[in-house]
């Protein structure tokens, strides 16, 4: 059959196919995989299938189903945010930080972007037989230091030891408790057309630092992890924008691109990013270019993405830039109405493309 021979019929058929795709996409993902692969941990489509297809339906909690970074529960009139996380990074120490700092900051940040002031956390350590006591002591010190800096108290804990080879040096699990800030009116469904998109600094540093620290690439570049507490940034944004701050996320696994895709879908809006306005360290840009990986998909451990009503965006950005470490915060795009659920990029070259969800791990390209 030939395109163009019967334009009306062809258009009708194309429309039907597009409708089939649309129906398939909007269906709740079902978990049908035979086994767990690394893709289920990469923060893309497979992770989404695991969470929305297996976990969320099993527990029947509407709070869980809203898929926030932390769940909110109200006890005797006090709104509390609860989050939990596990840390399995390799190597455990890398330029700019270590697993201990990641564990504290990751927990603090999930609370912070949910609009909650971090209060207390638990700490669970799974240790590998043979781990040097000195390494463990260094991580415990890192945890204590990061907790002091972030103003969160470690109030309970647990330790387990597993046989050599059963885990990689050490795994850390945490639970964080925070107090919801009365200024916060945040929701993943809260994006409104016209909202401006802010990012708190250069993206892709953490993931790039880890890739380089593994030493497999034979690349040498000065890139450090960005691991830090985001509470000061959140505090500044809440102070400047209050209820005009519609939503925040920390752009960890899957990077800024994954956050934007999740929120565009949750709010049923289009998100347009101006690529040239996204802050990027030259060393990260260079490494990403060499590997053929888009920095927008690379993990961060101390960067948030915020959606602010247009009238408050200028004030919010100024407040954010005044926070130490956020000097390079930038407005990178805007929320639109159509096409809903999609993230579009205006490239620095003047073209446009779709920035889709990740299907698996970001793998280096050869071609």
């Amino acid at each position: 059959m030939s395109a163009g021979s019967a334009p009306d019929a062809v258009t009708g058929r194309e429309q039907r196919i597009l409708d089939i795709i649309e129906t398939a996409r909007s269906k709740r993902p079902r978990f049908k995989d035979a086994q767990i692969t690394m893709a289920h941990g990469a923060g893309g489509k497979a992770t989404q299938t695991l969470i929305e297809g297996l976990l969320v339906p099993a527990f029947g909690s509407s709070t869980l189903a809203s898929l926030g970074d932390a769940g909110v529960v109200t006890i005797a009139g006090a709104a509390l945010a609860l989050t939990t996380d596990s840390f399995v990074v390799k190597p455990i120490r890398f330029p700019g930080g270590s697993i201990g700092e990641l564990a504290v900051n990751g927990t603090v940040n999930d609370l912070a972007v949910s609009g909650a002031r971090p209060v207390a956390m638990s700490l669970s350590l799974v240790l590998e037989e043979g781990l040097a006591a000195q390494e463990l002591a260094a991580e415990v010190e890192a945890i204590a230091g990061a907790a002091r800096t972030a103003g969160i108290e470690v109030i309970s804990g647990d330790t387990k030891v597993v046989e050599r080879g059963r885990c990689d040096s050490m795994y850390v699990s945490t639970t964080g408790l925070g107090q919801l800030d009365p200024r916060a009116a945040l929701s993943p469904q809260g994006l409104r057309p016209g909202d401006r998109i802010l990012v708190s600094g250069p993206v892709g540093n953490h993931g790039t630092a880890i890739m380089l620290a593994r030493g497999e690439l034979g690349l040498e570049a000065e890139v450090s992890s960005d691991t830090c507490s985001l509470w000061p940034a959140v505090d500044a944004l809440l102070g400047a924008a209050g209820a005009d701050l519609h939503c925040m996320r920390d752009a960890t696994r899957g990077g800024v691109a994954s956050v934007l895709n999740e929120l565009a879908r949750a709010s049923g809006v289009a998100v347009v990013v101006r690529e040239a306005d996204v802050p990027l360290d030259p060393a990260v840009a260079g490494a990403a270019e060499l590997l053929g990986i888009d920095p927008m998909y690379i993990a961060n451990e101390g960067k948030l993405v915020a959606f602010v009503a247009p009238e408050a965006a200028g004030t919010a950005l100024a407040a954010l830039r005044a926070v130490p470490g956020c000097e390079q915060a930038s407005e990178i795009g805007e929320v639109k109405t159509e096409p809903p659920g999609m993230v579009l990029v205006e490239t620095g070259f003047g073209g446009r493309r779709v920035m889709d969800q990740l299907v698996g791990d970001p793998l280096p390209r050869i071609c």
């Binding site: 059959m1 030939s2 395109a3 058929r13 194309e14 196919i17 597009l18 089939i20 795709i21 649309e22 398939a24 086994q35 767990i36 692969t37 690394m38 893709a39 489509k45 497999e216 690439l217 034979g218 289009a270 347009v272 030259p282 840009a285 260079g286 270019e289 053929g292 888009d294 639109k336 109405t337 159509e338 096409p339 999609m342 579009l344 990029v345 205006e346 490239t347 620095g348 070259f349 003047g350 073209g351 446009r352 493309r353 779709v354 889709d356 299907v359 698996g360 793998l363 280096p364 390209r365 050869i366 071609c367």
Partner: protein
Amino acid sequence: MRFVDEFRDAELGRALAGQILATVEPGRHYKVMEVCGGHTHSIYKYGIDDLLPANVELVHGPGCPVCVIPMGRVDDGIALATRPGVIFTCFGDMMRVPGSEGTFLDAKARGADVRMVYSPLDALRIAKENPEREVIFFAIGFETTAPSTALTLKRAKAEGVANFSCVCNHVTIVPPLRALLESPDLRLDGFIGPGHVSTVVGARPFGFIPADYGRPVVIAGFEPLDVLQAIQMILRQIADGRCEVENQYRRVVPYEGNLRALEVMAEVFELRPHFEWRGLGFISQSALRLSDAYADLDAEQRFGVPGVRIADPKACQCGEVLKGVIKPWECKVFGTACTPEHAIGTCMVSPEGACAAYYNYGRFAREREVV
């Protein structure tokens, strides 16, 4: 990467887009194929098709070396990877290409020791570090990556690394192009020639395209201005009634290619009588295997692979999509049996393949409106 910024200047891009608009005949439809997966990536990354007039259509070609590996070859690789004691190495983007029983990533999840490497030399290093294990490198790619595999094999032989071997899946660019051009229903007006491959083979091998098939070829670099300029040069040739091989990528591609690379390839490899391409079927003399002098390093000979052929599903019409005969959505299995999560054909395997791109972005491409 400051040194390439000059090839990404949006102002110059707009000027070229204006020239392209002035070159095309209104009412005439142009289909230009970019042969190389690297060009497809640039077009996607910079949104280049967004800058073209509606009557200039880009068709993604067969030049993604990962996506053209047929299911049977992946199955053979997995059979090797799951042998006891084997460390199996391959490039990252190969790990997601499905065989009949899943991907290398799935094999890894089932317990195979599959490791991602960034160069064949990394695989050789792993072999030297693990002398008690058999280390196999799954080599893929066009003439671009074949020289580095050849050099690695030469070194392995010279150093006597006995536990290293290679599954050779290297392919050559000219035979699939000829196969496409032989097709009576071909609807392509010109070709953007592969820049990286041409740095090795030179411009000469593409002469048959204008000479025998009357289609212009412009060998192009990978920066967005390179690609736009190549499109402009192809359209200019058509407008002028010319038909020849032009070299837009002269800063890198010499007419004669890289003679040293060609020499080492000739020493290590020889042509296979035929090779199967996913979606395109068997194409004669389209791939390389290790020459007799390197037979010791050939994993296919050392271990004996099953060599099972898994036929592409009959309904898969990748060949027609690649030739520009049908649109992705006109394929019988598109969007039903063949989706990005469960890809059948080459055009769906790569996220930048024509079918995957249409599946993911088709709705946007139709509407092209952001409100």
